[in-house]
């Protein structure tokens, strides 16, 4: 992975739970540009544990002067967002990977409908800038509980195509209404809670939308869970995965090189063969098929966990 050390240039709370961080080159100069929907992986040296979390870029894709991300504090999570909120200050140096896009706009679309729930607004901030620059037709629907919690309000342009749905004010988002009457060739992009993604997919299926016109990104953080033991056959190692560590992080902590890209169960890069499984793999990924999940012959160590007597991986 090509990561580079960047300087924290700004830390700005957007809401009580969401903070914006800006990174710039310490020596000045410009960073690689990116496309709407791209993310970067931030490396966090957290008391001897190296965490790597992926965050959508919310700055202008055509502006290489810095990278902005918005981080929601998840106190029940593994600790990455807590690290960002409590330990990172202006002037600090952090290693940031090159931008990767696993949620790109499909530029063959005639129109783009973007549906965000909560912190799922983040990938759309840069997509909106790309759509405006390319002068493509779009509408954005942003669902949040209340104005006070809606970090996106500070990040979105004031445009008639941007629609706010605040459940606290009795305006719950309704995908059936949004998809109604959209022109042929429209693509819909959803990012937010799994229930919202599922609801959009369900409505689109009922209306006969082609599958290729549906795009979704679940902001999947590796879940916490009970500790477990894994044997890495090729490396000849037996490792412990702690409750607040992902299997991938434990593999890396043991000094074993494993490929990865999204660290969120979506890209397929860290797919690993299971040699023996006496117990149950808790598959949390969106990559493997249902039959793969049932067969327990493959695992995505970035998000999935294990309970049982023995798990042996080809790694």
């Amino acid at each position: 992975m090509t990561a580079r050390q960047l300087r924290v240039a700004a830390v700005e709370p957007l809401t009580p739970l969401v903070t914006r961080f800006r990174f710039e080159c310490p020596e000045g100069g410009s960073l690689p540009l990116f496309s709407g929907g791209a993310h970067v992986v931030v490396e966090m040296p957290d008391d001897g544990v190296l965490r790597r979390n992926a965050y959508s870029l919310i700055s202008d894709p055509m502006d290489g002067s810095g990278y902005d991300i918005a981080v929601r504090r998840e106190d029940a999570g593994r600790g990455g967002s807590r690290f960002m909120h409590t330990r990172v200050a202006v002037g600090d140096l952090l290693r940031i990977g090159a931008p990767v896009n696993l949620f790109a706009l499909d530029l063959t679309a005639r129109k783009h409908v973007l549906i965000a729930g909560g912190i799922g607004i983040t990938p759309f901030v840069s997509q909106l800038k790309q759509l405006q620059r390319l002068q493509l037709p779009f509408e954005l629907h942003y669902a949040a509980r209340s104005r006070a919690e809606a970090a996106g309000l500070r990040l979105l342009p004031d445009l008639p195509q941007v629609h706010l749905h605040l459940s606290g004010e009795g305006k719950r988002i309704d995908p059936a209404v949004i998809l109604q009457g959209q022109p042929l060739g429209t693509h819909v992009y959803t990012c937010g809670p799994q229930a919202l993604i599922d609801r959009v997919a369900e409505v689109a299926a009922q209306k006969g939308w082609p599958r290729a016109a549906l795009h979704a990104e679940a902001f999947l953080a590796p879940p916490t869970g009970a500790p477990f033991t894994v044997t890495l056959a090729r490396s000849g190692l037996k490792i412990e995965v702690s409750p607040h560590q992902s299997l991938l992080e434990a593999i890396e902590a043991a000094g074993v090189d494993a490929p990865w890209l999204c660290r969120g169960g979506a890209c397929g890069q860290c797919e690993t063969e299971v040699i023996a499984c006496h117990g149950r793999i808790d598959h949390h990924d969106h990559w493997l098929s249902d039959s793969d999940h049932a067969a327990n012959t493959k695992i995505m160590p970035c998000v999935s966990r294990f309970q049982g007597a023995e798990l042996i991986l080809d790694r």
């Binding site: 690689p32 896009n101 790109a104 499909d106 530029l107 890209l261 890209c267």
Partner: protein, 346 residues
């Protein structure tokens, strides 16, 4: 480093030639004495000094003549360059990548000044001095992809990435090993590779696609591919098969060393920043058998590879008809000695 550009042709009288330096730096594609398909990718981050792997976009003594040949082909058949409407941003990405790389890697040949979106490009070998507005196609004589690929050696496929697949949605293709952009435009990765024998059953394409979908910005990759061509012709296209196909029958035991060429493609893969498309430059290098055998290791090895190649691969690569003559010729340069590992000359 100053390059002396050849005045040469790739058609009609075929005056193409390789200097001693061009022979020495030829990208010989076989790292062992046999060949089978593989996803032989490696990072494209420089290479041996003077080799074609050293720079991001290699410029050599054939540059000016190759660009002249491309212009002829485009005049006769404008459909060799196509870009579907959603690919213009990727075209700008490609222009940016090539201009910046060439200006940095060959400052004596190319220069790029950027002031915001006001760009000034100078290409000394081709005598071009162009001021234009980046992202405004009306300020260039043609679209951005066509503009820059008329000034860059090799073919260019620009692949859109969507639906977990790659789509051949733009390209400049005038020096191809018998495939057609006009036929393949809009196809996905599996569709345009359908004619390749064996590889699909071997799972090569699934693995290659997975690799390519994950190529990242700033981490380009490369591989070599090869075939055989009679006469130093760049445009071996299906569209012009009637012109070059019959030339395969002009090979004799007397002229095979001069007229039979090993054709090597240096393929590179680049993630483009603004469009998330994948640029796939396919750079073609030609060397006659008689020049190739001046490197003893290459003569021995090419003999063994071609002698032992499965018949269907020889047919797909289009030289089955001449294989006996080629192998007989190369056998004279194979004394049975062991060859060293790797592609480079000893």
């Amino acid at each position: 480093m100053t390059i002396q550009f050849n005045d040469e042709t790739f058609r009609d009288d075929y005056t193409f030639r390789n200097s001693a330096e061009a022979i020495r730096r030829f990208p010989f594609p076989f790292d062992r004495d046999s060949y089978m398909y593989s996803v032989n990718m490696e990072p494209h981050k420089g290479g041996r000094e003077g080799s074609p792997f050293e720079k991001r976009f290699d410029v050599d003594e054939h540059y000016v003549a190759e660009m002249r040949d491309r212009a002829i082909t485009l005049t006769e058949d404008p459909l060799r360059c196509q870009s579907l409407p959603h690919m213009e941003l990727a075209g700008w990405d490609l222009l940016d990548l090539i201009m910046q790389s060439k200006a940095e890697d060959y400052p004596d040949l190319f220069s790029l000044q950027r002031d915001g979106n006001q760009w000034h490009w100078i290409n000394r070998p081709l005598g071009i001095d162009q001021r234009f507005t980046f992202l405004d196609a009306t300020t260039l004589p043609c679209g951005p992809m066509e503009y820059i690929t008329r000034q860059a050696q090799g073919d260019f496929a620009v692949l859109d990435q969507r639906e977990g697949n790659l789509w051949m949605d733009a390209g400049m293709v005038t020096s191809q090993a018998d495939w057609s952009l006009d036929f393949d435009i809009g196809m996905n990765f599996f569709e345009w590779h359908a004619p390749v024998p064996r590889a699909a059953e071997m799972g090569v394409f699934q693995r290659a696609l997975k690799f390519l979908l994950n190529v990242q910005q700033g981490s380009p990759a490369r591989r070599l591919n090869w075939t055989m061509t009679v006469n130093p012709r760049l445009d071996t296209s299906p569209e012009n098969y009637h012109k070059w196909g019959p030339e395969k029958r002009t090979i004799t035991p007397e002229n095979v060393g001069k007229k039979q060429f090993l054709r090597v493609e240096l393929q590179t893969f680049w993630r483009l920043p603004r469009s998330n498309a994948l640029a796939f430059p396919i750079r073609c290098y030609l060397i006659s058998l008689e020049d190739l055998v001046t490197v003893p290791k290459w003569g021995r090895r090419l003999h063994r590879v071609l002698r032992d190649l499965p018949e269907d691969l020889a047919a797909y690569k289009g030289f089955a008809v001449n294989r006996p003559m080629i192998v007989d010729y190369l056998a004279r340069f194979d004394d049975g000695a062991e060859t060293s590992p790797g592609i480079f000359a000893d």
